[in-house]
């Protein structure tokens, strides 16, 4: 999984029927200290996250294991909202 920050939303009227009523968010990967790195991703939101929050994003076929995503055509899902990242060093 990667840490990411929610930076926006996506609206799509025409889409796969299995994506109807799923919320799509734009996220940007961050390092554990909060610095942006990597690409922007569109991820399906299963935990009611919002813009500005730090989230946990699962990628690949595992995204279909998120709640309610069985057999849906998704490869990135937000499965948690991060409270804290603890880096002892």
């Amino acid at each position: 999984m990667i840490l990411a920050r929610v930076v926006g939303t996506v609206v799509a009227t025409r889409k796969d029927p299995r994506l109807v009523s799923n919320k799509l968010l734009v996220v940007r990967g961050i390092d554990p200290r909060g610095k942006a790195e990597g690409n922007y991703l569109v991820a399906v939101d299963t935990v009611d996250a919002g813009v500005g929050e730090t989230v946990l994003v699962v990628s690949g076929s595992s995204a279909r294991l998120a709640s309610g995503m069985k057999d849906c055509p998704v490869d990135a899902a937000i499965v948690g909202i991060i409270d804290t990242v603890d880096l002892p060093d």
């Binding site: 390092d31 554990p32 790195e37 009611d48 076929s61 294991l65 709640s67 909202i81 990242v85 002892p88």
Partner: protein, 88 residues
């Protein structure tokens, strides 16, 4: 699988129900000489690893297999703690 060093952990109160009770670790992948290589990632822990330990982890859907039969939405999981390794 890949070698990594555990450098931290994350706390998430609001999350997928099936992730309840799953420890999430911050991993830094390492090269043969122990130096950092590539980006950090978050992995589920199934072996009781802790910060500072060298571990190996699996990527992809296979990372959810240790939790089977529940299907947990994880794409990286620590599956072993390294005692020592040797590269000839």
């Amino acid at each position: 699988m890949q070698l990594a060093r555990v450098i931290g952990d994350v706390v998430a109160t609001r999350k997928d129900d099936s992730l309840t009770g799953v420890t999430l670790l911050v991993l830094q992948p390492i090269a043969n000489d122990g130096s950092d290589v590539g980006r950090t990632l978050i992995a589920a822990d199934t072996v009781g690893a802790g910060v500072g330990e060298i571990v190996f982890f699996v990527r992809g859907k296979e990372a959810s297999f240790p939790f089977y039969p529940p299907e947990v939405p994880v794409d990286a999981g620590v599956v072993g703690i390294v005692d020592h390794w040797h590269v000839g």
